[in-house]
Subunit: 343 residues, 4 copies
Amino acid sequence: MKIQEIMLDESRNAKLTAIIQDVEGEYGNIKKRPAIIIMPGGAYWGCSDREAEPVAFAYSKAGYQVFILRYAVGEHRGWPYPLDEYEQTMELINEKQDEWHILTDKIAVIGFSAGGHLAATAATTAKHRPNAAILGYAALNKEISDLCQPGMPYPVEEVDDETCPCFLFAARDDNVVDVCSTLQFQQALWEKGIMFESHIYAYGQHGFSTAEPHINSNPICSRVPNWVADSIAWLGDMFGTLTPAGMTEPTCGPKFSDDREATLSVDCTLGHLKKQTGMAELVLKDVFAQLQAGVEQMYGPLAETLTDFVKLFKLKDILKIAGIPQEVVETLDAALKQIPNQK
Amino acid sequence: MKIQEIMLDESRNAKLTAIIQDVEGEYGNIKKRPAIIIMPGGAYWGCSDREAEPVAFAYSKAGYQVFILRYAVGEHRGWPYPLDEYEQTMELINEKQDEWHILTDKIAVIGFSAGGHLAATAATTAKHRPNAAILGYAALNKEISDLCQPGMPYPVEEVDDETCPCFLFAARDDNVVDVCSTLQFQQALWEKGIMFESHIYAYGQHGFSTAEPHINSNPICSRVPNWVADSIAWLGDMFGTLTPAGMTEPTCGPKFSDDREATLSVDCTLGHLKKQTGMAELVLKDVFAQLQAGVEQMYGPLAETLTDFVKLFKLKDILKIAGIPQEVVETLDAALKQIPNQK
Amino acid sequence: MKIQEIMLDESRNAKLTAIIQDVEGEYGNIKKRPAIIIMPGGAYWGCSDREAEPVAFAYSKAGYQVFILRYAVGEHRGWPYPLDEYEQTMELINEKQDEWHILTDKIAVIGFSAGGHLAATAATTAKHRPNAAILGYAALNKEISDLCQPGMPYPVEEVDDETCPCFLFAARDDNVVDVCSTLQFQQALWEKGIMFESHIYAYGQHGFSTAEPHINSNPICSRVPNWVADSIAWLGDMFGTLTPAGMTEPTCGPKFSDDREATLSVDCTLGHLKKQTGMAELVLKDVFAQLQAGVEQMYGPLAETLTDFVKLFKLKDILKIAGIPQEVVETLDAALKQIPNQK
Amino acid sequence: MKIQEIMLDESRNAKLTAIIQDVEGEYGNIKKRPAIIIMPGGAYWGCSDREAEPVAFAYSKAGYQVFILRYAVGEHRGWPYPLDEYEQTMELINEKQDEWHILTDKIAVIGFSAGGHLAATAATTAKHRPNAAILGYAALNKEISDLCQPGMPYPVEEVDDETCPCFLFAARDDNVVDVCSTLQFQQALWEKGIMFESHIYAYGQHGFSTAEPHINSNPICSRVPNWVADSIAWLGDMFGTLTPAGMTEPTCGPKFSDDREATLSVDCTLGHLKKQTGMAELVLKDVFAQLQAGVEQMYGPLAETLTDFVKLFKLKDILKIAGIPQEVVETLDAALKQIPNQK
């Protein structure tokens, strides 16, 4: 392990702490590791130590290369300095990916409160997008963003098709950043079909960080500390898990379906495909007729309603249940991928 | 322990299974127990066994008196029969509270999918409201309600000031009940200031019940089974915990603040109180001036913004931080409770 | 689900409660289930309710068919009545295996305190041995057995080669059954090469049962309640896990190695095989020479000590590391299985 | 946070890595922190990196000042060099307790395999004893100690009245350090009345370290990774928990009772006190008579056996149950503390 302190911008006192773990040798076939960039909170007035090292330890323990980004705050916080420093960090990581042993397509960000605003802005607007974002009691909507620093983007309004999967957590009784900030962000992710996980705890107020007893003294409900292990498990679902034999495959994709991709596929939902016209309609007509016939045969008069219950199933899942051979599915998929998606 | 099967309505085949545990004796000072009513899912076409007994065992283990409500489904499901059967269950529990050893102000409902619709309807519209509701991948908005059974209420539109605290869980990739159903219900609870806890898991699809390996075969992420223990801990926060010495105190109230009560109090938020006019303004003028002066003395020019960051603090919490003596707070509280709330 | 009360012996008031869950239908390909027999404690003076139903709920939830055995106690407790009633229970289960949907080679026992004495006696001496035993703060050695009821066997002295795998738990500060009872039983299991898992918690005293807050009021350390979930996971390791597709394979065998079997095999440890003379020595001479040569080539002078560090490795594991082809290992295994074991 | 590398002995290449966290400021009233010294394993041939930093992260996250001791190994491992280096570490910590913000009466050691031998030797024989020891699949008995390095002490034979509380963990199927090493150490701790916690997992082999997926590739049962969080909770029981308001009180003492102290007290067990003669007998005669009379009154003929069941109760606990006033207990305690203990 080595720890490096890197000055990103001396005039703004923006700094990066890199906690780099070894690879190979005792670590077997681990040649590179996934990484995480930590953005502490502090209303853009400061960068909280309580949301820096204690958080770093958790992801270091899980095998990540960890970076603590102490972005410009206080008098130096003028937008877009903090975001620039994030971009600079990503460029540095790409540059040093060999020296630092980093899988550059497995880089997460985690931000708390105002740091969550920065992390969400990175996830929704940055040139170098992260591959996953963890947002803790984050400042995400207009009201709280403006309060922190007028002139910044409002993450809830910036979610787009390229936004990475997100892990959200907050306490219902947050009395600094209204929990509606997180609720609205969930809704925005849902609208774009982005995958996410979200935990709103009954109570825990604001700023609990890892919720270790030595870190937090606000009343918290017993579930609050779970976000740490849960977020690590979730990252494993999104990135795959680091093992001495290398990374395993992800267990979850970044999108709910292919409904918002440029072309169609069997990973589109039935409901979405049913609304397509033209070539798609032609290609799918027989398939749909066959599925409808099968359902009617099994359920009779109920069939109409029943198919409404599977509108959100992906075509491939329905075809699998219907016992359609894999090669037929593949041929269909190839055909659909030639057809532009009418979103 | 004794198990009773009670026919609620023979023509509709609506049945109640009561699993009643003993009290006193080896159970010390436990004279009565909290209770939970389970409403299995099944699109109002059936009542799933997988969401009945296996769920009952979890809450029985935690010390609850448990009722499985097999409400009218299929051809008998005409609204409001299922809700009537819930009301009937509550009347029965009230009637037999001594025989069944039940704390009638500590009755929760738990419902899955269509059962979640019924539980949420009970929580938002019933004559006999439950004291807490657990809603699992529940059908809560217009689209899915209409699909289940036209003519029923839409829970997301029914949330009111009397709605009990709720515990919500669902999977992001639910392909039967769109997860937006749960998202919209969160939003509705937030708007009314109702306390809740919510867990949206990355993936787990629909109908995982307790997510025990013998119950579920869909792919689920590792966090899904946590809802069982988490919901029990949450009920403990809302109701207090059953111990051989009796129930402990709840650790969490049913509302975010007193902002929606009939009269004001020190449990209203600062932001809400600042908007009050007339008598309230008069009573609070000196208090606010004093708080503002204190902040300005400590933070100077930042003070204006700073006070915006505490708008969601309850007055009593701010007064505590400011070191105002408890008796002053109590006097103020008494005065505020005389003043009607301008919502 | 159905619950049956069966009188095993009216004169001794010995009773069996069977909690039988459904199979097939919504439970998919589950045709039979594993089972567990619960033996509450009570110094053979009584059968504690606190160690009966609340324990049953945990294993019912995990999918087991559950039996609560209220064996002869008090004036009727004369040995071997309680053990007879256990045998009777096993005969009944075998008889009714179809009606009760039970996998008769996946039957566990769990006993607490004096019930742990009975469960351990079943595991070590019964005609119908269980397939796994869970022993909670159990009375297992001479001193405590004699105190409960003179004339009974002492489980620590009865462990034999046929003893099933065991899961032990107790609190270090047990002031009723000295924790040395559990320590001695661990030692006895180790001596016979039986697999086990054991958790001695820092404090929790005696009789905590599931350690739910409504069950226990003694001071317990935070780990105590873990035994419930841990024991269920451990049963899954020993029996395989029940899923809608049927039982999975066990992940752990009942013995440390084949060192105590009638004949040799590649599942014997290297150290054990090295002590064999005659035919075994002849068969293994070349294998050992080859392994030794390989080690010396890699490690030189250290080789002597190094091979001492692998005495407890099974021969098959060493051969795998050494890259010996699977068919050679199988041929060797076949040859060894012809040779009687010199224990 | 700062990290310091300290050369303890250049000729033997013995090194100490200190990971020192900040205090006060954002950490509130935390002025000093508890500490832990990590001793990686490696058969005294090396110090495994897998049992160094990854372990450090876990305790750093929990708020501890962490030291990794890379003691003399390989050609430099001659005994007692490694133990000397431990003593040197403790002296350094004492010297720098202010600079490093360390509570010098809350220092734990954790050792794995051969490092567990060193940690246990520290716990049982060192000049500067630690206050708690965590021993992972540790080499503790004669056989494995001699194999590692002849001439070293055997920890199982060194346990004494001053040995600190221990937390033990190992896998039943350990094929390098026979699990009997841990079993024997449990027994030795029990004999001296030392408090301990112990987890023997069904399987996990040897050297799993934190059992994170990136660290370990041996098959492990699901419970293995729990030792990390469990050991931290246990340290909290022994030391108290670090909070922003300072350390809380320990919840568990280092001894089962006062039975092995120099003088008697009400913290001695009933059984031990009953065996005392002379002055103690005189002082306690009336108390015992009173207790016996009370029991006989309640239970009649059973009373004789009943009192045997409470032999391990501390006198103060029995007196409390019997309703003896606190001031009487205190007077008795003061009297007993004047009387030498006949061990």
